[in-house]
C-alpha cells in the first residue's frame, strides 16, 4: 500500500470539501444551535445552578430552630449560620448556593426571605427544599401551638432577593449600573456553561459531527459513483489506498470542523471575559487524548459502515444511513447514567462502543478497565473497515457490477 497515494486522495477530498459552502453551513449550524440551547439553559440557571452541589445557608432570626426539643435541626442540605454577616459572606463567596433568612416574626407571619443569585426558577427549588425542611422541624415540636400552625403552611409569604439586590452584599461583579449587572449575568451564564453544561454540549456536538461524517462519506461515495470516477480511480490505485484515502479525508475534514467550532467557542467565551478561560479545566490532557481517539474511531466505524451501506442498494442506502445515524445518536442517552450497566454494555458493543466511550470519557465516567476493553473490541472490529473497503471497491465503483452477487466458477459450456 502506498501511503503517498492515500494521503494524496485524502488531501484531494479535504480540499474539495473545504472549498464547498456546505462544509461551512454544516460546521456553523450545529455550533450555533448548541450555543443557543446552551445559552438558554445558562440564562435560566445562571448564577444558581453553577453551585448545585452546595448547601443552602440558613439564618434564623426567630429562634425557632433552637426551641426545645427542636434544637438546631440538622440537615446536610442546610448550613445554619449564627450571624447574618457570616451567612452573607458565605453566599458572596459561593460557599452556599442560596441563603434562607427566617425573620424574627416568622412564626406569626410565615414569611421567609431567600437570597439567591440570578432571576431564574432556582428560588422555587430552594423554596421547596426549605418548606420540606421547616415542616420536618415543625412536626418534631407539635406541642407548641404557634409552631403547629405552621405545619399546614410552613411558608405563608416569601420574599426573594435576586441578583439585582444581591449587590447589597458587595459583589464587585454586580457593581457598575445596569450594564455592569448585565455583564455579570452573562459571565455567570458562560461560567455555568463551562463548568456544568459544556461537557453535555460537547457530547452532543461531537456525536452530531459523527452523524455529519456519515453524511459526508455517503455524499462522497455517491459522487464517485455518479461521476463514474471509481473505475478510473481503481485502475490507478488499489482499493485499500482509495478507501483509506477517502476515510482519512472525511476524518480530516471532521477534525477541522470540530477545531473551527472549538475555536469559535473559545473566541466567544474569551470575548466575554478572558478570565473565564481560566475556568476551562474541563478536560485533562489524558481525557483530551481519549476523546480524540474515540472521536476518530467513531468516525472510522460509521464512515466505513455508511460507505458499505451503498453496496446493498442505492435505494436502500439512505434508510440504512438513517439507522446508522440513529445508532450513533443513541449514545447520547448514556449521559443519563454513564456508569450504568447498560452504558458499560454499550461500551463493549462494537456498534456503540466508540460513541458511548466518547460520552463516558467526557463525563469522567470511563475507568481504565473499560477503556482497555473497548479499545480491544474496536481493534478486533477494525477488520470491518477493511471488509467495507473491499466490498465498496468491488461492488460500488465499477458500473454494471451487481451488488452482493457472488460470482463463482461454473462448469464450462
Amino acid at each position: 500500500m502506498s501511503w503517498a497515494k492515500t494521503f494524496l486522495i485524502a488531501s484531494h477530498e479535504f480540499f474539495a470539501r473545504i472549498k464547498s459552502p456546505v462544509f461551512y453551513i454544516l460546521t456553523l449550524t450545529p455550533f450555533v444551535g448548541f450555543m443557543l440551547i446552551g445559552l438558554l439553559f445558562g440564562l435560566m440557571f445562571a448564577g444558581a445552578s453553577e453551585n448545585l452541589g452546595l448547601p443552602v445557608g440558613l439564618m434564623d432570626h426567630s429562634g425557632f430552630l433552637s426551641m426545645p426539643p427542636l434544637k438546631e435541626e440538622e440537615d446536610e442540605n442546610f448550613l445554619i449560620y449564627s450571624s447574618m454577616e457570616e451567612a452573607q459572606a458565605a453566599l458572596r463567596d459561593r460557599r452556599v448556593r442560596a441563603l434562607v433568612e427566617i425573620p424574627p416574626d416568622y412564626l406569626e407571619s410565615g414569611q421567609i426571605i431567600i437570597w439567591v443569585y440570578g432571576t431564574s426558577s432556582w428560588p422555587t427549588m430552594v423554596f421547596d427544599q426549605t418548606e420540606s425542611f421547616l415542616r420536618k422541624a415543625i412536626v418534631q415540636n407539635r406541642l407548641d401551638s404557634r409552631i403547629a400552625r405552621r405545619v399546614i403552611e410552613p411558608i405563608d409569604r416569601l420574599r426573594i432577593i435576586s441578583a439585582d439586590q444581591v449587590r447589597e452584599l458587595g459583589d464587585s461583579d454586580l457593581q457598575g449600573g445596569i450594564f455592569g449587572r448585565a455583564r455579570a449575568q452573562v459571565q455567570q451564564t458562560v461560567r455555568f456553561l463551562i463548568q456544568t453544561g459544556a461537557r453535555y454540549i460537547l457530547v452532543l456536538l461531537l456525536l452530531l459531527n459523527v452523524s455529519i461524517s456519515i453524511m459526508y462519506s455517503y455524499e462522497d461515495i455517491s459522487r464517485d459513483r455518479a461521476n463514474r470516477m471509481g473505475e478510473l480511480m481503481l485502475s490507478t490505485v488499489s482499493a485499500t489506498e482509495w478507501f483509506a484515502g477517502k476515510i482519512l479525508g472525511v476524518v480530516l475534514i471532521m477534525l477541522t470542523q470540530t477545531l473551527i467550532q472549538m475555536t469559535l467557542v473559545l473566541a466567544i467565551w474569551g470575548g466575554i471575559s478572558w478570565r473565564l478561560l481560566g475556568d476551562l479545566t474541563l478536560l485533562s490532557p489524558r481525557e483530551v487524548g481519549l476523546v480524540l481517539v474515540y472521536y476518530v474511531l467513531s468516525m472510522l466505524f460509521y464512515v466505513s459502515s455508511s460507505m458499505l451501506a451503498i453496496v446493498v442498494h442505492p435505494k436502500v442506502a439512505p434508510v440504512l444511513l438513517g439507522i446508522l445515524g440513529l445508532l450513533n445518536l443513541i449514545n447520547a442517552t448514556v449521559v443519563v447514567a454513564p456508569s450504568s450497566r447498560i452504558a458499560i454494555f454499550m461500551s463493549f458493543f462494537p456498534l456503540t462502543a466508540p460513541g458511548t466511550m466518547l460520552v463516558r470519557v467526557l463525563l469522567k465516567a470511563a475507568p481504565w478497565r473499560d477503556v482497555v476493553i473497548s479499545l480491544g473490541v474496536l481493534g478486533v472490529c477494525s477488520m470491518w473497515t477493511v471488509l467495507a473497503g473491499s466490498a465498496v471497491a468491488s461492488r460500488v465503483l465499477i458500473p454494471g457490477m451487481p451488488a452482493f452477487s457472488i460470482s463463482r466458477p461454473r462448469q464450462r459450456r
Partner: protein, 297 residues
C-alpha cells in the same frame, strides 16, 4: 522479437448463472494494437476489467509486463467506457491529480497535462470546470488522463464512442503514434470500421467467447470466397451452397456456406437460365466477417 506486454490466459467470468467471458486468451506485444470486437454484451468490458485487475477472473490469469496487473498500475493507462471525471473541478487540476495518482510529481504532471491539452486543442480550457466543457472536450480530457503518464500498456474501452468523425481523427492519429513509440494498446469497440483502420490484430467476441482471432489479413483470408457480389436478373432463393442472399438494390451479396464452390454455384445459376451481369468474389469487411461469424454462432 518484441516483448510481450499483456498476457491473458484462459480468462473466465461468471455473473450469477451467466458466463460472461469464456476461456479468453490474448497476448499483446509492444507497438501492437489489438482490438476486442463484438456487439454490446459480448463480454468486452468485463474482459478488459479482468486484464486490468479491476475484477478478479473466476479462472485464468493475467500478467502485465510479467507482473500481476495490480503491480503494474503506474505503467498502464485506462480509458473506461463509462467516462468519469470530477465535474466541479478545473480541467488542468483534474489531470494533475490523476497524474499524481499515477506516480508523477506535481510539476511533471502539470507540464505533461499542459502539453497534452495543447495537443488536443484544449489549451484554452485549462481553468474551465469540467462540467462546462462540451461532451467532445470531456472525452478528450479523459483520453489525456489515460496517456498522461506515458503508459507502456494502454487499455481503451470504446475510445471513439460519442466522438464525431472530425474528433475521431486526432485520437486515431495519436494512437498510431503511440503504437510507433512502442506502446501496447488494447481497445474494445463495436465500430468495426475504425478497428479495421487501426488494429494490427483483432479478437471477435460473441456471447463471451472468442469466435475469430488473428490479423486482419488472416481473417480476411480465412473468409475469402465466402461472399460473392452479384448483379443478376431473377436470382432463385434456393441456390445450393448459398447460406443467405443480402439485397442492396440491384446488387446482391451471396453469403456462401463453408466449403461451397463459387464456380459451381455460378454454373448452377446459369443452368437455371438466370442472366448474370456481375459475378465477383468480394473482399470481406470486418462487418461482414463479424456478421458471418455471429450468424454461425
Amino acid at each position: 522479437m518484441r516483448e510481450t506486454v499483456l498476457q491473458a490466459e484462459g480468462l473466465c467470468k461468471w455473473f450469477g448463472r451467466t458466463q460472461v467471458v469464456e476461456d479468453l486468451s490474448l497476448e499483446v506485444k509492444r507497438g501492437e494494437i489489438v482490438g476486442l470486437l463484438g456487439p454490446n454484451g459480448s463480454g468486452k468490458t468485463t474482459s478488459l476489467r479482468m486484464m486490468l485487475g479491476l475484477i478478479p477472473p473466476d479462472a485464468g490469469r493475467v500478467t502485465i509486463l510479467g507482473q500481476p496487473p495490480q503491480r503494474a498500475r503506474d505503467r498502464t493507462g485506462y480509458l473506461p467506457e463509462e467516462r468519469g471525471l470530477y465535474k466541479d473541478e478545473r480541467a488542468l487540476d483534474m489531470l494533475v491529480y490523476v497524474g499524481q495518482l499515477r506516480g508523477m510529481s506535481r510539476t511533471e504532471a502539470r507540464r505533461r497535462a499542459l502539453e497534452w491539452m495543447a495537443r488536443l486543442k484544449l489549451e484554452d480550457h485549462t481553468r474551465s470546470r469540467v462540467e462546462k466543457l462540451s461532451h467532445g472536450m470531456q472525452q478528450r480530457l479523459q483520453f489525456i488522463a489515460s496517456v498522461l503518464h506515458d503508459p507502456e500498456l494502454l487499455i481503451l474501452d470504446e475510445p471513439f464512442q460519442g466522438l464525431d468523425p472530425i474528433h475521431t481523427l486526432l485520437p486515431l492519429q495519436i494512437l498510431g503514434e503511440l503504437r510507433d513509440q512502442g506502446v501496447a494498446i488494447v481497445l474494445s469497440t463495436h465500430q468495426l470500421d475504425l478497428a479495421e483502420q487501426l488494429c494490427d490484430r483483432v479478437a471477435m467476441l460473441f456471447q463471451g467467447r472468442v469466435v475469430v482471432e488473428g490479423t486482419l489479413e488472416e481473417i480476411r483470408q480465412k473468409f475469402a470466397g465466402r461472399v460473392v457480389r452479384v448483379i443478376a436478373e431473377s436470382l432463385p432463393p434456393d441456390l445450393p451452397g448459398v447460406q443467405e442472399i443480402r439485397s442492396f438494390g440491384r446488387e446482391k451479396k451471396l453469403i456462401l456456406e463453408e466449403q461451397a464452390d463459387p464456380d459451381s454455384i455460378l454454373r448452377a445459376l446459369l443452368e437455371r437460365g438466370a442472366r448474370v451481369d456481375l459475378w465477383e468474389r468480394h473482399a470481406l469487411s470486418l462487418y461482414e466477417v463479424f456478421y458471418l461469424v455471429a450468424s454461425r454462432a
